[in-house]
Amino acid sequence: MADVAAEKAEKTEKAKRTGRAGRAGQSERAAPAADAGNAEGAEQAGTPWRAHGTDRRSTRTLRLRVSAALLTLTVLAVLLVPPLAQLDQQAVDLAAKLQPPSWAHPFGTDDVGRDLLLRCVYGLRVSLLVGVAAALTATVVGTAVGATAGALGGWVDRSVMRVVDTISSVPHLLLGIFIVAMFRPGVWPVVISVALTHWLSTARIVRAEVLSLRSRPYIDAAVSGGASRWRVAVRHLLPGVLPQAALAAVLMVPHAMWHESALSFLGLGLPTHTASLGNLIQEARGSLLAGQWWPTLFPGLFIIVPTLAVAGLAGAWRERVNPRRRSELML
C-alpha cells in the first residue's frame, strides 16, 4: 500500500507543476467528470494551458452546432416541404420563365417557369436518398472486405486486394454505366451501380487501419488471453476502424451524388423529368451561358451545404469516440 501512496504523492506533485497550487487536486478530480459529458471540469480550471483547451473546445462546439442546425434544416425541408406546400413542382408557367430570385420565387424560376426552390427540395430528396443509400451499402461491403483481408492476412489478403486493384483499374464511371445499363432507369439501379463501384476505397482504408491495429501489443495480449479470431476482430479491431469507416462513408455521400448526376446526364440514371440535383444543374447549363446564374447556383448550394454539415458532424463524432484523441483535446 505504501507504494500506492508514493504514486499518489508523485501524481499530486505532477499536478502542481502543470496546474496552479491549490487547484491541482480539484482539476485532477474534475478530469474524469468532464469525460463523462460534464462540462464542469473545463470551466473550473483557470490555468492558461486549460484555457487553450477550452478555447478549442468552444470552436468545435460551434462547428458542431452549425453543422447540426444546417443538417436539421435541410432534412426538415426535404421531409416537410413536399407534404406541407400543396404546390406542384412540375407546374409549368411559361409567363414566369427564367425569373431572378424574388419574394414570389425565392430561388427564381427555370426555363419553363417552374419554381426552383420547390425543384431543389425535391431534387435534394432524390439525390440524398441515392447518396446515403449508396454510401451505406458501399461502406458495409468495403468494411467487410477490408476487415477480412486485414484480419486474416496472408494469401487471403493478397488475393482479395488484387481483386480490389483489378476492379479499381476500370474507370468508375465506365463500370457504373455497365451496371446501370443492365436495369431499367430508376433510383435503385443508380444506388446499386454507385455502391458497387465505390466500396473499393473503403476496403483499402479499413484494411490499412486493421493492419496497423493488428500489430499493436494489445492484440498480442488478447491472443495470449485466449481470444478467438472472431473475438479479436469484433472486440478490438472493428471498434478501432469504425470511426474511419464512418468518415469514409460520409465523404462518399457527395461523391455518390455526383455519380448520380453524371449517370443522369448520360441518360442512364434517373429519368429527366425527375428533379434530382444533377438533373437540375445539367438543365441549367444553357441558361448559365446567357447570364442566368440562379438555376445553377441554388442546386449547387444544395449539394454543398448538406455535404459540409455532415462532414462537420462526422469530424466532431470522430473526435468524441476516439478516446486518446479526446484526452489530447481535453474534452
Binding site: M1, A2, D3, V4, A6, E7, E10, K11, A31, P32, D35, R216, P217, Y218, D220, A221, A222, V223, S224, G225, G226, A227, S228, R229, R231, V232, R235, H236, P239, G240, P323, R324, R326, S327
Partner: protein, 219 residues
C-alpha cells in the same frame, strides 16, 4: 519445463533477428534474460509465449511440443502463458475500462461468472482502487496501467509468466510492488517466469538465475 531449441526468428524471412538460440527453464524456475537493445530478446519472449512464429527451431511447453502459434495454437496452450509487455499504454485497448481490461481474458474464454470475484481479488492484489477500475487507459498513469496489465496476465492463472521489460518505464516503488505481486503469485502457484530486461541488479535479485543473451547462441 519450457524448452527452446535452436530457435531462429525474425520479421523478414531472409533476415532473421537471431539464429540458433537455445534456452530452457525448469518447472517453477525464474529466469532473467539480459541483453542489449535490439538483440532480439523481446522476439524470443514472444516466441516463447506463442505469439510469434519462429522460422526454425522447436519449442516444448510442459512436455508438449508446440507446432502452431498465435490463433492456431490450442487455447489451453496459449493461456498457459501470462504476458506483460513493456509499454502498458500500447498493450491496453484504449476503449476498455480497466475492469474490462482485466476481465477480458475471462470473457474471451467463456468464464463470465468468475468476472466479478476475480477482478476484485486481482485489483486488491495489484493495488488498484475501485475508482481507478472504472477509468479508461488514458485516464490513469503508466504505473497504474501496468498494474492492470499485470492483473490481466494473472487472471487466467497461467503456469508461465513472460515479463518483457515489464518495469522499464516505471519508478522504483512501482517496480518493487509489481515484482512482489509476481513473486507472491509464483509462491502460491509454482508458476515459472521468464523475465526480460536490461537491469542486471533487478533481475539478479528477482530471478533464480540470469543469463546473458550472448551465451545463448550456439554455433
Amino acid at each position: 519445463m519450457l524448452e527452446m531449441r535452436a530457435i531462429t526468428a525474425g520479421y523478414a524471412r531472409n533476415a532473421p533477428v537471431f539464429r540458433n538460440v537455445s534456452l530452457s527453464l525448469e518447472p517453477g524456475e525464474a529466469l532473467g534474460l539480459l541483453g542489449p537493445s535490439g538483440c532480439g530478446k523481446s522476439t524470443l519472449a514472444r516466441v516463447a509465449a506463442l505469439l510469434h512464429h519462429p522460422d526454425a527451431g522447436s519449442l516444448t511447453v510442459d512436455g508438449a511440443p508446440v507446432r502452431r502459434w498465435r490463433h492456431r495454437a490450442p487455447r489451453e496452450q496459449r493461456t498457459a502463458f501470462g504476458v506483460v509487455f513493456q509499454q502498458a499504454r500500447l498493450s491496453a485497448d484504449p476503449r476498455l475500462a480497466l475492469t474490462d481490461l482485466i476481465a477480458e481474458p475471462l470473457r474471451a474464454t467463456g468464464r463470465r461468472e468468475d468476472v466479478t470475484g476475480r477482478v476484485a481479488e486481482l485489483a486488491a492484489t495489484v493495488g488498484l482502487t475501485a475508482d481507478l477500475l472504472s477509468r479508461r487507459p488514458h485516464e490513469v498513469s503508466d504505473g497504474q496501467l501496468q498494474r492492470a496489465c499485470l492483473a490481466r496476465a494473472l487472471v487466467l492463472r497461467p503456469r508461465w509468466l513472460v515479463c518483457d521489460e515489464m518495469t522499464a518505464m516505471l519508478d522504483a516503488s512501482t517496480t518493487a510492488a509489481l515484482v512482489r505481486v509476481v513473486e507472491d503469485y509464483r509462491a502460491s502457484t509454482g508458476a515459472g517466469l521468464l523475465a526480460v530486461g536490461h537491469d542486471r541488479v533487478l533481475l539478479d535479485r528477482w530471478c533464480d538465475r540470469t543469463v546473458e543473451w550472448g551465451t545463448l547462441t550456439s554455433g
